[in-house]
Symmetry: D5
Subunit: 155 residues, 10 copies
């Protein structure tokens, strides 16, 4: 793309995410520390910096200050993103295990949601997700909690 | 298929699951009650009866006794299943919301797992999943917890 | 499938929908009349009888009485459905025009929703849809209204 | 692409849309204000500026004047576009909810169109689409109306 | 499917098409003769009998009388069809050549339609298609004419 | 790509098509006028300039002279193209209507070709295609004629 | 399918092919012997009996007599087939090797056809294919020859 | 890519193929003449220069000398390629006719290979392919011979 | 399928595999014991009984005798199979782990094969595969060995 | 991408792999020699340098020193990769043979794993893979061993 067109465009979220990831590693800043700077939950902050949520101007500025990134990145972080799956990521073993668990347990979750709540869904919008490490003598465990408001089909 | 071939074959897990679902509804038996009869966790029991896990002979017999189903179903429930996604289920809104949450938060989970644990994955085999309803004044919530042993890439 | 297995299974929603469609045509009963019998909105009733929503026992019985269908159909109509696209239907010209309109106007709707409401979505669960014919001297028009509660991304 | 080839080509619609979106945000101009400048309906204007419709020279010039964009953008906006779905957008939750609603209600719409109008379709060409916010004490609602001329299969 | 369910359902269009094709061959009746009996254009009649259009009661009865088929077929022919591509047919060489021609000449047709008519489409609904054999000393030719009303994008 | 590699490569047909389209619009030259300059049929010329056919040196030079394009474009136009569908174009409504017509009428065309000619196909190589506007009081019509030599399966 | 509907339908080509293959093996009849009985080339006869070509009444009767199959099969063999790939067969290693060879050498064949013949194709309709075993001290070889008339793009 | 990274990388085979094709056309050198210079069979040489086989240093140098291409191209031609289908090429009519022939005759070839040789495959590695023009009064013919060693399934 | 058609057809390999699997479980016969009866390697025997290889008459009879299955199964086991992936199996976690290992290590295997052997492949036809359990204090291990003849690209 | 953005980003693993492959060939360094320098197993080292595993700082520096590559490459090699299949590589004949072997023997491996170990999988994470050449008078053989810890489904 021509230089002038690039200057006239707001930086896309993927470029911003790549700059953030690189700066984070080079400066040795943890996601936790970024979450503290941004004053938001850990998973939300990580997701937002990787491009899944818009940040407020204050949050974007705080994150960029910590990472030594300029205003173009902070401007980008405030943009409404296009959300959606990255097909390459879906086959990465770390992410694939979640998908496999859904393939195995998805039918059971559907049955249990409808038995307990009736006809409807767990919202993925009014929703939060938690990540934790649970020590275990047989090997520590990854614990991820999906927590969404039940929405009933309501005409 | 010819009658004689059908008699000579063990009933497939999908047919067993359909009979179980029908009997469960007609007899008004909850998944919880089935889990108690089978003496196993709720999500595991539901998944197993829907075809995702083999049951022991005792578990299969107990479930079928409660549901009034015959030995062919109990035999089927002890078979090793083929596991995997049902493409029709994947687009069902109740199940799709979990997939959407993974599309939005998958990259963040990957980052956080690697930061916390190093290079590796959450196991989907040494793994359990929990389902709960959490009362909330703004509307009760569906809470689903993925809990798997961390496995590091180890040569 | 063996006769006995079929008797032991609740009729699937697709078979029920096919019997309903056939009885409706042979008896000359309009969808409007069915909606009145069921005492529910027109599009909801049509969708439910075609398999997209569970009905109450009263609704199912009323619809089957009007159509001369037996209890197995009424039982089927009360089941929780698996919802999702029928790939064959998606290419039918009558349905495809809606898909094409979304392809052309989807980006604009996304922009306008975010400008007006902020970051979030129109719910497809707390949602209703209306169908109407609007007379027009240049040819009557099909008017379909999507009406869903706005849900903001809320952690 | 070489500079000289780029100069000899009319700017593609996607580049123009990206410049428009960036300028709109930096200057703080609403889609409504752009629609007024262009003197056209809101959804049409938004769609056209994003690349779904060709604009007249007057419309293109008016929009670019407001946005501070040069003649190359205005020239681009007058080009006949290639329309069609953006696969990435289709999985974005904001747009996906419309697709899901069609999956659930598409069969009902087909039945109702044919019952009311006979064999034919709602045109997506002789067609308009309306976007509105409807205040509601339970949470404001997104209301989108599809309004297309009925075309009967006519040999 | 159970006998009783089959009796209670209107015969699907694909079964009707298969019975029509078989009877046509066994009785040696040309598509032209069927078109005459039905009093409709050749391609329309062939398409309708193969399942692409609903017939009037008179047309369906006339076709079935000529073919010696019973009332269940005639009833089926009056049903509103689901239209759409048959993926197996798409790769058949006889049909594939049309698809290939569109792949080669589609961009040119789009350019010429827009240059001649402005922004819009050739309707595939207000549309007819003609089939003819044109004698040619170098080998007779298949001549197929698409003839559809131009519809301009009109808000 | 490096400048030197670009100089050493013949310009690809897609780049040439983009330059031709831009020059055609800026200079206000119709496809008809280009066909006259090239001394070839209208659809053939349009398709060839868009990249579907190789041109002779005379034809390429004549077209480029009219459009004010240099020798690199004329050289490109003489290259043997790779033909084939552009997946993005296939979903454009203007082109999609042709595809939809084939989905609806393809089975009928196959039946009629085999009844009239026996086993074989309409050639898409020994083939021409015609585009015309037919005035009609109910709205002018797009008329496109496919005309290909019949080839019988001949061992 | 009901018995009566099956009687009223001509047997489909796939069922006929399955009966032919079974009878051929049980009676120990080679494809060569079938080709002699049918008085046609080896590959053509094999392909026709497997469903790729219609046979004359004489050919069909001769093949069925040799195989001890009844008139319903002979009737089926005279039907115009739908031709096209069987996706399951495409991944069978015996067939896949041909596909792989085309993937490796297809670009070279395209270049050489155009250099030698100009713009056009090898016909797959005016076409024959030969199969032979060539003894070789290093292991006998499969030799398959594609032989099709060159067709130039001719408007 | 940065200049320095490009210098540090061996030129990829696709870039080399594009430079070779361009130089071949501009210098008017036939594939046959290249095969002679390289001292290898015609189809092999064409395939190798297009990227399907590695060349020896002598072969690469000889080809580049004839075409006036520099050492970076010769170095590239000696690299081990990644082989595999080009999806765009697969739909090009010239290449598609080979694929169609395999769709029609693949099942017959499988039957004949197994009848003649037993269980196994034609190798696509110990394999050669020949291209020839056969004069014919009804139109010259493209003759392509696949010739591969039979490999039996041998444990 | 009609009874008479089923009798006239050789049982397909998938039905045979289902009967074998059921009989094996009901009679409590291990794959190892079947391999001994058949006098062939363990993985080969398992694969052959599941439908991947034809058996000799002696092998088929021996296996069926042990399993108490009749001649129709033994006849089926001697048929040449169609080999190829079962898409449902590919997503089963037990099988998927092999696919994932190939995704991660495939590029390395390609590099190492070419470095060690030159240009060519590991044959999957002149090939055997071994399965073993290796005791390990940290948990026993699955050890699977692929062992195929190297085939060099040889014209 | 702009120069400054490229400087601010850590080099992606694919670019690093391309530089490593080029330097390895130009300097004539074997994978074995790289494995020795890195002090790690052969397949692991090859996979890691091609982008499938993160390296320690020492390993990355040792490899880059041997290859004459700068710090940006060494920094890249320490990054956590996204793992997953390269669709182009999957169709390369050298890699495809492994996939084909899994298609043929995958069902047998699943049966044997479950018979020997019970319900569970071979880990692809606690996993190693070995590559060897085994001399054989009939042609040397490629021997690849998959060796992974068995993980039982454990709630």
């Amino acid at each position: 793309m021509e230089e002038s067109i690039m200057d006239a465009s707001i930086m896309d979220r993927a470029t911003a995410a790549s700059l953030i990831t690189s700066a984070r590693i080079r400066r040795g800043i943890s996601w936790e520390k970024l979450a503290t700077a941004v004053d938001a939950p850990l998973v939300w902050t990580t997701a937002a910096l990787l491009g899944a949520h818009p940040m407020s101007a204050e949050q974007a500025t705080a994150a960029c200050a910590l990472l030594g990134l300029d205003d173009r990145v902070a401007e980008s972080l405030q943009q409404q993103p296009m959300r959606g799956p990255d097909p390459r990521l879906a086959a990465d073993p770390t992410v694939y295990r979640f998908t496999e668990a859904l393939a195995v347990y998805g039918p059971a979750l559907k049955e249990l949601i409808h038995e307990e709540f009736g006809d409807g869904i767990m919202s993925a919008i009014n929703f939060k997700i938690d990540f934790a490490r649970r020590p275990d003598p047989d090997g520590d465990r990854v614990v991820v909690t999906f927590d969404g408001k039940f929405l009933d089909y309501r005409w």
